[in-house]
Symmetry: C2
Subunit: 426 residues, 2 copies
């Protein structure tokens, strides 16, 4: 398949929330207590909520910066590409990057809305969660419904309220929930308790997906305090592997046989080994551990779990073992692991290398995302206008050059599609 | 290749130390303080040392028991197959299992000799470590030098003494050291300090291998206190993955370019994904993290790390990506993940499935172990007497039936070689 004919839906990107997000969305009595942006004496923008200051408005939002600066988080909106927080600019960046549609994880509330967990006034916190979801669904995604898969944050302290919120947002067409990879790490009941059953039931009743993003337990795999950053970066998918094992062997899967879970930013290449390990563990140990499945655990895994990758050569090579329908693509804009704006070129080159068929490419690049999330952009935008070529043509003049915030220097010109493709297929 | 013509060397098995191991091996002044076996009022055998009682004489030493009983650790020598602790019986079990030679990790001192770390009398503790190594090398392995790759335990509290011990045992022909996967988890300086340099230098000077067994940091990946055992079992290789990342990015590899490390019981199937992740991490992040390698980190990994597997279909499928010379085979006798006595049948079936060539089979089943560990059994025992067929013929009457210690019932007859092979190739 030609690169320009591919269609991309990314199931893992990140929104940096805009300062006006809560305007008009909070009940009058709590309007003054909504999270708000404050500029500090140092010139930084911070979110302020419930006596807490959250400095990372755009944690790792480094799209468009040179790699040498990836370790420095932007601390003000001016330091970020507007595409991080302005939906109109985001859509232009997506088009320039050849991406039709995207699902966006939150930034300042954490991936699972953990920021609101310890708020004493639970009624106020609930109002904030609902306002967040209204903004995300109606404001951000609603501005371009063919370009975004909406996703809600949970009411983390109350599974019944989370269930109610799942139903409420489903009415608006949102059938995706972000959650923590391990509630036990947050001091909440684990996946092995029955605490979360109302949430799981609501997900199944509404056909919604549970999304577990790496790092959403608030913990990363750290080997030693003096270990270099590279160790932690390399090991990030380990957290997701732990979450996958935790859920696969838990009562959750057995009690909620229609539940579906996405392992966000977890990669795919480790899945075949993991499935071998599941089956081996079952074969060698289930008679004394007391586990029971009616089929091999690897088959159970395929029925329940969606995997995704940014770039993952081995994951693509082993696509049959993973299951073609169990793989989605993601871009991770605007974080430092993203290949924006030439992510499609990277995917295209991998597909050439591993002889991926057109049907497989379509499944991984967009059809699986449409099927798992019940998302149909083609009903709004004709399919032929959704390709990399069509999208890039629409924003031909859009500036995607890399800019150093240290020097102000532009270091890379607007990518030329033909040149990018020549490079990718060289 | 026919199963009976294969030759197997296992780089990861376990010895249960025999009660008389310290007899005549301790300096006279410390003879009374050597670890000793005591039978408790409950009828259990325990090691007693330095005021501590270590009940797990044979932690997970369940070879020859039905799988239903795998969760119950034997607490007395009578509850174990004699092959766990009697070298003459062990060699018969190895022959019946078709295995020529084996490297044995310790049991009661822990994989890294951690038991002796907190002993107040360091001089006495050093005498115990030396006596342990003398017993292991001269007593256990020395009884059948063509059947064992000797491996020493370190003087964990002192890198200089460890270096001296590495040189001392190398004089006896032992060029293998077991160590912890993460000293920082034991409260010791991490791999990122220069603390361990004397040990690394001694390993390189003597051509010895550093062996890092999963679980040797004293920690396993646990998701929640109420998680089922299956989660922990599935995730065991995660610890080794953390150790591999920790060491790969550490100064150790850069400062000691000839150091070689074995990831014991870590599996191989996850390595290609891990190497992709290493290269991606380097490509995306090294300019700000400050890492530098002269070649891709995946190539650095291949030069330094040996992997091994018990059974690992994906690892065998991806043998070229891992590197044929970077894969060894292991049996894990007498632990519950072992396939003894029909481990060769399992390996043979996997090789048939993935079209593994004879040269590749020989490399993985025994030649890589001989090369990495500088071990040459054929100089003592002619090669044609080292095959599965030859070894099993020697012990045709040896009882390898599975016996329940609850019922005393024998549940499986002595395997018939022809029947086993028919099953394996069915």
């Amino acid at each position: 398949m030609r690169l320009e004919d591919m269609i991309f839906i990314s199931v893992d990107d990140h929104v940096v929330e805009s300062p006006d997000m809560f305007d008009g969305r909070m009940p009058a009595k709590y309007a003054d207590q909504a999270p708000r942006i404050v500029r500090t004496d140092r010139g930084d923008d911070v979110w302020v909520f419930d006596g807490k200051e959250i400095p990372n408005i755009g944690l790792n939002a480094v799209a468009g910066r040179p790699k040498e600066e990836y370790g420095i988080d932007p601390t003000s909106f001016e330091e970020m590409r507007p595409g991080c927080y302005d939906v109109h600019e985001r859509v232009k960046d997506m088009s320039a990057g050849g991406v039709l549609a995207s699902m966006n994880f939150p930034s300042f509330p954490s991936f699972s809305g953990r920021l609101f967990l310890d708020t004493a006034d639970k009624d106020m916190a609930l109002a904030v969660v609902r306002a967040y979801n209204d903004w995300h669904i109606d404001g951000w995604c609603g501005a371009y419904p063919e370009r975004f898969i909406p996703m809600a944050i949970p009411v983390l302290w109350d599974p019944e309220l989370t269930a109610a919120e799942i139903h409420r947002v489903a009415e608006k067409g949102c059938r995706s929930l972000t959650f923590t990879e391990n509630p036990a790490m947050l001091g909440l009941p684990s996946f092995h308790s029955d605490h979360w059953d109302p949430m799981f039931r609501a997900l199944v009743e509404t056909g919604s997906i549970l999304n577990i993003h790496l790092g959403s337990s608030g913990q990363l795999a750290i080997t030693a305090p003096d270990a270099p950053m590279d160790v932690m970066i390399t090991l990030q998918p380990m957290n997701i592997c732990m979450a996958a094992a935790d859920l696969l062997w838990s009562r959750v899967i057995k009690e909620h046989p229609d539940l579906r879970i996405a392992l966000s930013e977890g990669g795919s290449g480790w899945i075949p080994y993991f499935m071998d390990r599941l089956d081996r563990t079952y074969d060698m140990h289930h008679t004394w551990t007391g586990q029971h499945f009616d089929e091999p655990p690897s088959e159970v895994f395929k029925k329940h779990f969606l995997t995704c990758f940014i770039t993952d050569p081995i994951g693509l090579k082993l696509r049959e073992e993973i299951g073609i329908e169990n793989i989605c693509w993601e871009m991770d804009y605007p974080h430092s692991d993203s290949s924006w704006p030439d992510a499609p070129e990277e995917f295209h080159a991998m597909c050439e290398k591993y002889g991926v068929t057109d049907a497989e490419i379509n499944a991984i690049s967009h059809e699986n995302a449409m099927n798992w999330y019940g998302f149909d952009p083609f009903s709004i935008r004709p399919r032929e206008q959704c390709t990399v070529g069509a999208l890039r043509a629409e924003v031909a003049g859009h500036d995607v050059s890399v800019r150093s915030f240290d020097t102000g220097r532009f270091e890379k010109s607007v990518p030329d599609l033909a040149e990018l493709q020549a490079r990718a297929t060289a």
